[in-house]
Symmetry: C2
């Protein structure tokens, strides 16, 4: 055996196999065969299949490349980070479903979070807003990825396929009238559209917060559960300097 069996080699082989034959085709036996080893040898490095898939998710996730430019406008930085996240769907399309299907709790997932939070904090959001906003962005990105890989699992533009819905015009007038728009989907453009919406909303929110802060320090607390949109004015006492 020239190269020793390794957890990293196993994960790499798994990703390779998923990308070649799809997530359903993965099995411990196939991975072992691809590596030229016996099945049970894998279990010396990975406790079970679920853990292996977790490792696959973590590995793919950790390959997100951030080219953060701290001097750029915060909106641009948020945009760049969101796009970087989405890139995994292009580099590892068939593994993406595995990634989004299992939540990962590991340091690998913390770095993007750290970046995003830092960006939002520097923009002027307090901790609560930053966390909630991050969650909103992540939810949107994950949902977008899911649609992308669901519709085109391989990202190969299947030519013969027709997604145009044909609906009874009487029952579904809107769907019928917009069938051509619903049938096609430029994922890139769709993603940017929603991303624009979120970023614009974030800009509005930031302005709101700043106005509230300027108006006075009165209403502290910023009711988490409170339904009042404006007048959050949290900030007070938050010592976490964060330049």
């Amino acid at each position: 055996m020239p190269t020793p069996l390794t957890r990293a080699r196993i994960v790499a082989a798994a990703i390779d196999l998923i990308e070649r034959e799809g997530a359903d085709a993965i099995s411990m036996r196939r991975i072992a065969a691809d590596l030229g080893v016996g099945v049970m040898s894998l279990y010396n490095h990975v406790p079970n299949k679920a853990a292996l898939l977790d490792a696959v998710a973590e590995s793919v996730y950790s390959r997100i490349e951030f080219t953060d430019d701290p001097s750029a406008e915060w909106t641009a930085r948020v945009r760049v980070q969101a796009r970087a996240f989405r890139q995994i769907a292009h580099h590892y399309p068939r593994s993406t479903m595995v990634v989004v299907s299992r939540q990962l709790r590991s340091p690998a997932g913390l770095l993007p979070v750290e970046h995003a939070l830092a960006t939002l904090r520097q923009a002027g959001f307090d901790g609560e807003d930053a966390v909630r906003m991050l969650r909103t962005f992540i939810a949107y990105i994950i949902g977008s990825l899911l649609r992308e890989v669901g519709v085109t699992p391989t990202f190969a533009p299947v030519p013969g396929q027709d997604h145009t819905p044909h609906a009874d015009p009487a029952l579904f007038p809107e769907v019928h009238g917009l069938a051509s728009l619903l049938g096609e989907c430029d994922h890139e453009e769709a993603f940017e559209y929603g991303l624009d919406m979120l970023i614009r909303a974030a800009v509005v929110r930031l302005q709101e917060v700043k106005e509230a802060r300027a108006a006075g320090e009165a209403g502290a607390g910023g009711g988490v559960k409170g339904r009042g949109d404006a007048a959050v004015a949290g900030s007070g006492g938050n010592g976490s300097a964060r330049g």
Copy 2:
């Protein structure tokens, strides 16, 4: 055999089983056993397991209840529809992962789409904006559902579990400082927060479109790809705030 085997009965049994024992526990043999029939009898009504899971997804999806009030403000109607969508995660938490994992192409999925498009069109959006906006909302909702069912698959608030991330303060200062916020997550509130962001952005967008229309019929279509970040005319506009 009192009641004859039926596709509907099979699907119902499958959903039941998933909710009782989780999506991983599902198998044709278990379903057949629950129904008190032989395994192969299922195949008289369902071509294969994948089709059965598709049917499960469709069934769950079709149970979304819309209580649309056409007289309400469009922002409120959008909010209601989004919440209705999210409700499936509460009624069928463990099936939700099945729903979001497979894209469904059936009439069952068209009714919510029809409702949403009609609402957006009535608000004043053109077809393109309505479709793109709908996709944005769906992506956000799906992503939110995925986090909800991922973190708490059974919606039973696991007491012993601690999701608080413990990160090296030097490497991850933000994550460390906001650990308590990151550790807990009120899904309800998180969902509403992002939903608010999207609805506000939609309000801004609508205003933009209307102004463009009023200004003249010249630049039709509106800069879909336009990158203009700022100048969104913040605080005004939102009439539906939430009161």
